[in-house]
């Protein structure tokens, strides 16, 4: 500190420069934040507008008159509640599976030495590069062959693990100092125990990333559900809203209905994010220091 307590003049000049910098920084941040948030405010506002109001004054954030017609239409005249329930079931199972299996594999690839590890890792990288569309046709065939076409199993099982998640976990585990595990090993802990009680709790930031990504990924998945289901009772939100977008429910543009559907679809995943947002902050402070 003493080094900075030079003459009072330097000090004032420094702080003024710092102040200008701060103002510029916050102005920049606020402008960017506005650009990111504004579309969603417009979305919510428009869902409460009449179609005429949405067309004439798209940018206004205050609907006049306020209309619930879009929501009424969605809940009374469509399978929207069914879509919602289906997306929820799939998302919960997929997220639990991915957090567990991805971190297990990520840990093995980062820390355990076994013959063939390099090949497994190379295969994962290759799998990551497989475009989902390559799989659309034959994925349907395999699911059909296994007798799980048009069922929850067919929707959930193929999504239970993802190569990108393993990759993220592996990268994170490599950054944790080995010394921590060695201590536990000396204390006589087995491999699974070291993974479960020592390393996994330290990987919290990465785990939260995985939870967010897989919750998002399965809630937002579209192409897999296009090929693994056909019955209306198994339609997910993505499939349902995509059919709305192509105007299945209505004539005309019907932006209020479409935007209302899109807005409701965003809520659960947004709530999920707000819960974990807090934990992201705490995790960085709770991390073990060397």
């Amino acid at each position: 500190m003493t080094a900075f307590a030079a003459s009072p003049r330097t000090r004032r000049r420094l702080s003024r420069r710092a102040l200008t910098g701060q103002i510029a920084l916050y102005t920049l941040l606020i402008v960017i934040a506005l650009i990111y948030i504004f579309p969603f405010l417009v979305q919510v506002a428009t869902s409460f507008k009449t179609e005429a109001d949405a067309a004439t004054d798209p940018i206004s954030l205050i609907p006049s008159p306020v209309s619930w017609a879009a929501y009424e239409r969605l809940f009374a005249f469509s399978d929207f509640p069914v879509w919602f329930a289906n997306s929820a079931v799939v998302t919960v199972f997929v997220t639990l599976g991915r957090v567990f299996f991805n971190s297990l594999a990520g840990y093995a690839l980062a820390r355990l030495r076994f013959r063939g590890r390099g090949i497994v890792f190379a295969a994962l990288i290759a799998v990551m590069a497989v475009p989902t569309v390559v799989l659309l046709i034959p994925k349907f065939l395999v699911i059909n062959q296994l007798g799980i076409y048009d069922s929850y199993a067919g929707m959930i099982l193929p999504l239970l693990v993802d190569a990108a998640g393993v990759f993220i976990m592996k990268n994170f585990f490599e950054s944790i100092p080995v010394a921590v595990e060695e201590q536990a090993r000396i204390d006589g802990a087995g491999t699974f125990r070291i993974f479960w009680s020592v390393v996994l709790p330290m990987a919290r930031p990465a785990l939260i990333t995985i939870v967010i990504l897989s919750f998002q990924g399965s809630w937002n998945e579209l192409s897999h559900f296009i090929v693994s289901t056909q019955s209306p009772e198994l339609t997910t939100l993505t499939k349902g809203v995509a059919s709305l977008a192509s105007g299945q429910l209505s004539q005309g543009t019907q932006y209020p209905i479409k935007l209302a559907a899109a807005a409701i679809m965003t809520i659960p995943v947004a709530v999920m994010f707000f819960i974990f947002q807090r934990r992201i902050m705490n995790a960085s402070e709770g991390a073990v220091k060397e």
Binding site: V42, A129, V130, V133, V241
Partner: protein, 377 residues
């Protein structure tokens, strides 16, 4: 050589030095645990990705018409005919594939650098410990990423409609916005047209590949595709910002502080200290970005179905359309595999470009000499 072998943080990180005294039993147990840990991933990815890939490969070289099993005896091997139809025969299928590649190439060329730079920039901005309201800013930037591509496409169709929000904002500064999702004009062609060039030189218009002239390859993304490009940058920057943030949190403040004490400027600290340590994250972001941008599907399926004038057609959507729409399953699979090849190619190129370079021979000799000299006296 042995003296310089273990340099570089990478070597140290990825293969921790084997503990000298560890008994064999533990090693064997470790191997078993290793395989056990990766087995769920191997089984599920094997059944739902590897097996389907092999089947798709077969479909791409067969005349399977979508009825019954592709493995049944009345389906026959037709060699590379499906591949030829979309690459060399010069018909509609070839031209569609060429257009789809053109559209997607522009998309990748613009989206990948923009999303990487923007997400790193955002991460650096909100990583400051003293920043007030950083939770708010992180939330704001990440929010578009939590929205599904279906939902965001619906929103984007509204924002970019001819009398939508974007055009209204543009009108404030006296610009008449285009009818975004209905405008097939390439933005580079439009820019040239603004200075009076509407026809390309004969050298460019006469030749071409995949049924698309060089002039049309150079059209740039269409106005409609540009709206999708903006959407991609908008929706992905938050996710990648999170990855960069996770990386930044792993970097101890000590190195940064040391560099500051040494008098390094902000730019030097970023370029010489922070960025090299972010290399693994950067690699992840670029890889995921490249893989993602080459498979644009949901947006096109929900939004434009390839229109207007096929300028938002992408190979991914074309493949789906060929198989499930036109019942050309073989061609659909062939397109998918060529897309696969493109992605693998770019991933490998990028891996080579971004790998940790070994110490150059000249530098190595210097170290060698120095260590030798030190040993002599």
């Amino acid at each position: 050589m042995a003296a310089i072998a273990p340099v570089g943080p990478r070597a140290r990180r990825s293969t921790p030095p084997r503990r000298a005294g560890s008994p064999r039993g533990i090693q064997r147990g470790e191997a078993a645990a290793g395989w056990l840990f990766v087995s769920p991933v191997i089984v599920i990815l094997g059944v739902f990705m590897l097996v389907p890939v092999v089947m798709a490969l077969w479909v791409s070289v067969s005349d399977w018409g979508g009825r019954g099993s592709p493995l049944s005896s009345d389906v026959s091997f037709i060699g590379l005919q499906n591949y030829a139809a979309v690459t060399t025969e010069g018909g509609l299928a070839t031209r569609d594939f060429g257009i789809a590649l053109r559209n997607n190439a522009w998309y990748v060329l613009l989206v990948v650098p923009l999303q990487t730079a923007l997400s790193l920039f955002l991460a650096l901005l909100v990583n400051r410990a003293i920043l007030r309201g950083r939770g708010f800013f992180r939330t704001a930037f990440y929010f578009p990423s939590v929205t599904s591509s279906v939902a965001i496409t619906v929103l984007w169709l509204f924002l970019f409609s001819s009398s939508g929000v974007v055009n209204e904002v543009l009108s404030w500064i006296g610009v008449t916005g285009p009818n975004w999702f209905n405008d097939p004009g390439g933005i580079l062609h439009n820019a040239l047209a603004a200075v009076g060039i509407t026809q390309g030189p004969a050298a460019l218009t006469d030749g071409g590949v995949l049924g698309v002239s060089w002039w049309d390859w150079l059209a740039g993304p269409s106005v409609a595709m540009s709206a999708f490009i903006l959407m991609a940058v908008f929706t992905t920057s938050g996710t990648f910002m999170l990855l960069f943030l996770a990386g930044l949190q792993n970097i101890g403040a000590e190195t940064e502080e040391a560099a500051m004490v040494d008098g390094a400027s902000g730019w030097q600290r970023f370029w010489r200290v922070t960025l090299p340590q972010l290399k693994p994250v950067l690699f992840t972001v670029l890889t995921l970005g490249l893989i993602g941008t080459w498979q644009v599907f949901d947006q096109i399926y929900t939004g434009t179905q390839g229109g207007p004038s096929k300028t938002t057609l992408t190979p991914a959507y074309l493949s789906y359309q060929a198989a499930f729409g036109s019942q050309d399953w073989g061609q659909g699979a062939a397109i998918a595999f060529m897309l696969f090849a493109i992605i693998v190619f770019f991933t490998i190129v990028q891996r080579i470009v971004l790998r940790d370079r070994p110490v150059s021979a000249r530098r190595a000799r210097q170290y060698q000499v120095r260590t030798d000299r030190r040993r002599q006296p």
